[in-house]
Amino acid sequence: MDKLQIIEKLKSIIKPYVKEDTAFENLNENTDFISDLRINSANLVDIILDIEEVFDIVIDNQSMEKMLDVKTTLLIIETKLNEK
């Protein structure tokens, strides 16, 4: 899976939880889930669970701590995919 495919999958995962559509349309690596997309923090748990399901990976608590923006989340997904 290349980076673009990962980004597309990630976008479809986070879309249902987004409260700021404009920020979502302009999504880039620096987009923050909470301050830009206004995602409710309880829904961050859903995003983590969706990522685990869609990519068939396990997100440990240490990784989850850092998953507040697109850039870090992509990095963690890539790392976990490479470990498979």
């Binding site: 301050s35 409710n40 309880a42 829904n43 961050l44 748990v45 669970l49 701590e65």
Partner: protein
């Protein structure tokens, strides 16, 4: 130091499925899960403990400037319960925060303080006195008092630590 967090129960029933597989495991420790399933109303206990963690995290974030999404590392302990007010403690990184939580039919609301005596110094604050620093942390620009804001669904709670009282 203060933090607060409100959960609009009607909205949360729409937005979150706490029964989803794996959901509780990402947020709660084994002891907390025991508290949830031993309680009369597991749903309310989920949001009760969640709001305490969020409120305590806001204090940590305020002084450390560290952002992290690590609810499972903030562990809640019950201390006392009178009527609908739950008093508790949240442990995180070898620190202890004190929490007070009220539950109504419409919402769950927690306030966390670093110093127990600060519970008596909490007052509400009007938006016109609130500004945010470069880290996005709110304070009262007239008195420099720390402010915490929580907004969810139909509810907004804005509080400050009033040093005068």
């Amino acid at each position: 130091m203060i933090g607060n967090d409100i959960v609009d129960l009607a909205l949360t029933r729409k937005e979150s499925n706490w029964k989803r597989k794996g959901f509780l495991d990402k947020i709660f420790t084994l002891n907390e899960k025991k508290m949830i399933f031993a309680s009369e109303n597991p749903e309310l206990t989920v949001w009760n403990l969640w709001s305490r963690k969020e409120a305590a995290y806001k204090i940590y974030n305020r002084y450390s400037k560290v952002r992290a999404f690590n609810p499972i590392r903030l562990e809640c302990f019950n201390r006392q319960m009178n009527e609908n007010v739950f008093l508790g403690e949240v442990y995180y990184n070898n620190q202890s925060f004190f929490t007070s939580t009220i539950i109504t039919v419409d919402y769950v609301y927690s306030i966390a303080v670093a110093n127990k005596l600060d519970f008596n110094k909490i007052k509400s604050i009007d938006s016109q006195y609130i500004v945010k620093d470069s880290n996005g942390i709110p304070y009262n620009y007239l008195t420099n008092s720390p402010v915490s804001i929580s907004h969810h669904g139909s509810f907004v709670m804005k509080i400050q630590l009033d040093f005068e009282s």
